[in-house]
């Protein structure tokens, strides 16, 4: 609040969901340290009081990949362990409650893409995240379901994590090792370059795990909801949305790409209090 011409005026200043950044960096560092510790332990060292799991051991998508094999034979596909299945179940529970919060709050690859995107935002200002023609973009958004089907098929038929050879997440945490395939490094490189132009390109167009979790947007308990009675229809929520969802055009966001980042809410970009909410109830 400031006083101008004798009147107290509330100046709107876009806020950020800063706690989300903290959570994102926490998990990025946690996973990086665990992977580092895994290597140290293998070479006889290790960091005390820190898990030394492999990257696969702490990746919930591994639980999805191994599900068919596990149900069919009771075995895990190569490199996948019980923890992957447990994490997959936990993340699905989170997603049923809150939507794909894993994507928006936890996934380190999403965090890194957002970080690189800051460069694009500075370079291109309002053009950033609007380079892809809408019609093409709408079609490409379904590409990740094709990737998901392919990953599940090749994993089930081979019993191996063949997707690892193309997985930018694996490359992100193993780029220094000889285990990583050049193809996954290339996919990571392309993803990071595209992040300068598009917010979260991997998440939008190719992530098979995002495809799985995105489906929970259709029936999640807590959703982004817009109160039409107080909405000023300024479009701020839609402009801010990293996934280009037209929040201002719907009452309840059921878009399969929402990542529950809350950046569109009245807690962040929306200038009107209690207008864009993350709620399980109804809004007027």
């Amino acid at each position: 609040m400031v006083t101008m011409f004798g009147k107290r005026i509330r100046l709107f200043r876009p806020r950020s969901i800063w706690i989300r950044r903290v959570v994102q960096w926490f998990f990025l560092l946690l996973i990086a340290l665990i992977v580092l510790n895994h290597s140290l332990v293998e070479s006889g060292g290790g960091i005390p009081f820190l898990a030394s799991a492999s990257l696969h051991g702490v990746c919930p998508f591994g639980g999805v990949e191994t599900l068919y094999t596990y149900l069919a034979s009771g075995l895990f596909v190569s490199k996948i362990h019980d923890s992957s299945l447990v994490l997959a179940a936990i993340v699905i529970l989170m997603s049923i409650l809150f939507g794909p919060v894993f994507c928006g709050w936890i996934c380190p690859l999403g965090t890194v893409q957002e970080w690189v995107s800051k460069i694009g935002k500075k370079l291109f200002k309002r053009r950033f995240n609007h380079f892809v023609p809408v019609k093409l973009d709408n079609v490409l958004r379904y590409l990740r379901y094709g990737v998901l089907v392919w990953v599940l098929y090749v994993t089930a038929t081979s019993g191996s994590l063949l997707f690892e050879a193309y997985d930018p997440y694996f490359a992100l945490f193993n780029f220094w090792s000889t285990e990583v395939a050049w193809t996954s490094l290339a996919v990571l490189g392309v993803t990071l370059v595209l992040s300068v132009f598009v917010e979260r390109p991997w998440c939008k167009y190719a992530c098979p795990y995002g495809a799985v979790l995105g489906l929970t947007n259709l029936f999640r308990v807590f959703s982004i909801k817009r109160a039409e009675s107080t909405c000023k229809a300024d479009g701020a929520c839609s402009i801010m949305c990293p996934m280009n969802i037209p929040v201002d055009a719907v009452k309840t966001v059921r878009n399969h790409q929402c990542i529950s980042c809350l950046e569109c809410t009245s807690e962040a970009i929306c200038p009107v209090a209690k207008t864009v909410l993350f709620t399980s109830g109804g809004v007027k």
Partner: protein
């Protein structure tokens, strides 16, 4: 109910780490198996677990986690009788086979897993024997190379017959001459000849199938039993098979 970012972040941590703690308490949380063999680093099998890296401390369950072979198959192959084959440690095989005098142990398991899964295995590195029960399973699976079949022909042991009847297997003792204990060493089909024997003698699986007019039976099945069970005349089938054996016998 409406949530803002701070309570949401607390709930996320609670669900995630609470879930991990709960699963850990239930014994479901295992981030890795320390019993994970090293992977092939090059060639067409690069990245796949290498059977040669199976250790004596591995259980059959550990092996099943890294290779496409179940604990039950391993138990059947190596004659292990247990209610929980997944918990059986490879190193315990030597104790089981101690009295037989044959060195059936970790390397036998390595070779079996490699042959069963179609992964490479260096047959020149160490003389390795295979129990007949394991060989039968491998032959039934039908994915062996001619080199592997030839190796098994000379390195399969019948553990029910004491090794003291022949020379113990040592690196300096040619296993082929010492441990070949097939039921009919003179390559003559008799009542106790099994289909596995025919394959070990070199008769192609396809030839056997053509003569019996059906898919290859269980290698452990005797030809005579198969004939009587399927309405075939053993005395008619035997000469036909014998003719094929005579064509390929050494």
């Amino acid at each position: 109910m409406t949530l803002t970012s701070k309570p949401l972040s607390v709930i996320l941590f609670a669900i995630l780490f609470g879930g991990i703690a709960l699963s850990s308490g239930m014994g479901w949380w295992a981030t890795e198996s320390t019993k994970e063999p090293a992977a092939f680093t090059e060639g067409e099998f690069a990245g796949l677990a290498n059977p040669a890296d199976i250790r004596g401390s591995y259980t059959f369950g550990d092996i099943a986690n890294s290779f496409e072979v179940t604990p039950e198959i391993l138990a059947q192959a190596f004659g292990v009788s247990t209610d929980d084959p997944a918990a059986f440690a490879v190193k315990d095989l030597e104790a089981i086979y101690l009295e037989s005098g044959y060195e059936v142990g970790t390397n036998s398991v390595r070779m079996f897993v490699a042959f069963y899964t179609g992964l490479p295995f260096d047959l020149t590195a160490e003389e390795t024997v295979m129990p007949k029960s394991a060989t039968d399973i491998l032959l039934a699976k039908g994915n062996l190379t001619p080199e592997q079949v030839a190796y098994l022909e000379t390195h399969t042991v019948n553990v029910n017959e004491p090794a003291s009847a022949v020379e113990p297997v040592t690196e300096s003792t040619p296993v082929a001459e010492e441990t070949h204990v097939e039921s009919t060493e003179d390559y003559t089909i008799k009542g106790k000849t099994t289909f596995g024997d025919l394959v070990l003698w070199g008769v192609p699986k396809e030839t056997i199938e053509a003569l019996i007019g059906a898919d290859m039976p269980d290698p452990a099945m005797k030809v005579k039993d198969y004939a009587s069970a399927n309405g075939l005349d053993f005395e008619t089938l035997k000469p036909a098979l014998q003719a094929e054996v005579d064509k390929v016998k050494p």
